[in-house]
């Protein structure tokens, strides 16, 4: 039930909230508008709001200069691939911890979380050297392995919090009926676990897509993801804003849309179920 407040108060709060929200959103709005401007218009002394000469040429130029398609493909392979491998390893582990917990389960979970606390930079040099010697530097599969490892603790934690909410009684009942373990998993557990698995998948694709430490340090030309693609736009300036915006828009649009759809699940996922 909504609280009742005087309309004037409500208008005031609404106006204030919208102003703050639009200020926070303004960099994204700037990208959205500048991407369709000509370079001359983008750096004009008197900035325009809407593009005066609407153009799509920036997108073509960005593709020609830095090959967006290749980088986007790498991003998709790495983020989706690492998430799927993470789920394959993580689902059995989370299942075991949620349905057959022992005294040590909590410690194991905390230990897994603690591996996330290790700063990436603490292992950057050995990983770099191992990758160099195994010829994994600048490869998509090498990057996928690292991405799997850094997101595995989050995947397991998220799955664990979802699985824990599945009532054990149902599993017991199916066990009573003499269901084999495999049947128990396929017919009982999976349908109840799918929503949790789906939001785990979504959130981890987002995290992997935006990861910008390993993707930048371990790749150069071939296996570069979109974070590397966009970093290649960091040096030249001047007649460049519209193309930078087009590149930025191409890099963030897919994940922004995914994020909007999944924002309800996001809180719970990112806080490991502690805030719902």
């Amino acid at each position: 039930m909504a609280r009742t407040v005087p309309t004037s108060t409500r208008i005031g709060f609404t106006a204030l909230a919208w102003i703050i929200a639009l200020i926070l959103f303004s960099p994204i709005l700037w990208v959205l508008l500048t991407a369709f401007k000509t370079e001359a218009e983008a750096i004009a002394n008197t900035p325009t709001f809407f593009p005066q000469n609407f153009t799509l040429e920036n997108f073509g130029a960005v593709q020609a200069r830095s090959d967006y398609i290749k980088h986007a493909t790498n991003s998709i392979i790495v983020s989706v691939g690492s998430t799927l491998i993470g789920l394959i390893i993580g689902i059995p582990a989370a299942w075991a911890m949620a349905f057959a917990p022992t005294k040590r389960t909590k410690d194991v979970l905390m230990w897994m979380l603690s591996t996330k606390m290790m700063p990436a930079v603490g292992v950057l040099i050995p990983i770099y050297l191992i990758f160099r010697d195994l010829r994994l530097l600048d490869t998509v599969h090498g990057l996928t392995i690292i991405m799997t490892l850094i997101n595995l603790p989050i995947i397991i934690w998220m799955l664990y919090t979802y699985f824990k909410e599945i009532p054990v009684d149902i599993l017991e009942a199916s066990r009573m009926d003499g269901a084999e373990l495999w049947n128990e998993i396929v017919h009982v557990l999976v349908p109840m676990a799918v929503p949790g698995i789906a939001s785990t998948l979504l959130l981890n694709v987002i995290l992997a897509w935006n990861e910008a430490f390993w993707t930048i340090t371990l790749t150069s030309g071939r296996a570069g993801t979109l974070t590397a693609f966009i970093s290649s736009f960091s040096s030249p300036q001047g007649l460049f804003l519209a193309k930078l915006s087009a590149a930025s828009l191409l890099a963030i649009a897919p994940i922004l849309l995914m994020g909007w759809f999944s924002q309800k699940q996001l809180v719970r996922g990112l806080t490991f179920g502690a805030v719902k």
Partner: protein, 290 residues
Amino acid sequence: MATAQTRTLSRVMMAPAVLVLLIWMIVPLVMTLWFSFQNYSLINPMMTGFAGWANYLYVIGDPSFTQSLVNTLILVGGVLAITVIGGTLLALLLDQPIWGQGILRIIVISPFFVMPPVAALIWKNGFMHPGYGMLGHLWKFFGLQPVDWFNQYPLFSVIVIVAWQWLPFATLILLTALQSLSEEQREAAEMDGANAVNRFRYIILPHMARAITIVILIQTIFLLGIFAEIRVTTGGGPGYASTNLTFLVFRTGILSNDIGAGSAGGVVAVILANIVAIFLMRAVGKNLDA
């Protein structure tokens, strides 16, 4: 009720995850430790052998280390202060009966989905550039001299960018926590004549304590590793003005090819992160049980 069979089974199911994470945690860390006591430079292959504490003395003794350490603390502390205080205020505002709440939520969370290098480049070129950035235009509009943000206030500029990315995260989580506060409780407090400040202090804040702890914990994990924002904007400079520990190790180990010294820096970063982590895990452990 857990039989020996299910216990074995659950061990088998956990084995791959535990094994993979164990290797991931131990092998590179041991290697970093090992390298940190070696003379090992990719530029000068003649220099080999046990180095003792030389790498540590070299790294810690260098003024760039102290500066990077201070920068790391300012960066993490600054962003935490802005996002937790700002996020609380914004969450309180969004929790009011306002029009368009659903759309506002989506607008406010958006920056969180922008990948770090994009966020940094938008701010650098579109907003903070003294010539054609939007802030420059705004300053000129008010008759002021545009500021060259990244040269004059490099660390502050990085803080602004990172805070912009994480404020939505804090807001969304605190708002979710706020909305789970029961209406009856608030009304009861209102009936009892508690004013807004007291309601916030004695009802809302205690209720949000757990969410705030979690926001601080998760953000600290990510903020200690800030990298891309520095890489594409200042490159750690001018000098070492915006270099944090993460970036210092990258500079020493990868850019200057000094594996030994870079590893020593990495070990120091791990130790610091663990000190922070112990405090945070303790706080979270307490909060999670409650």
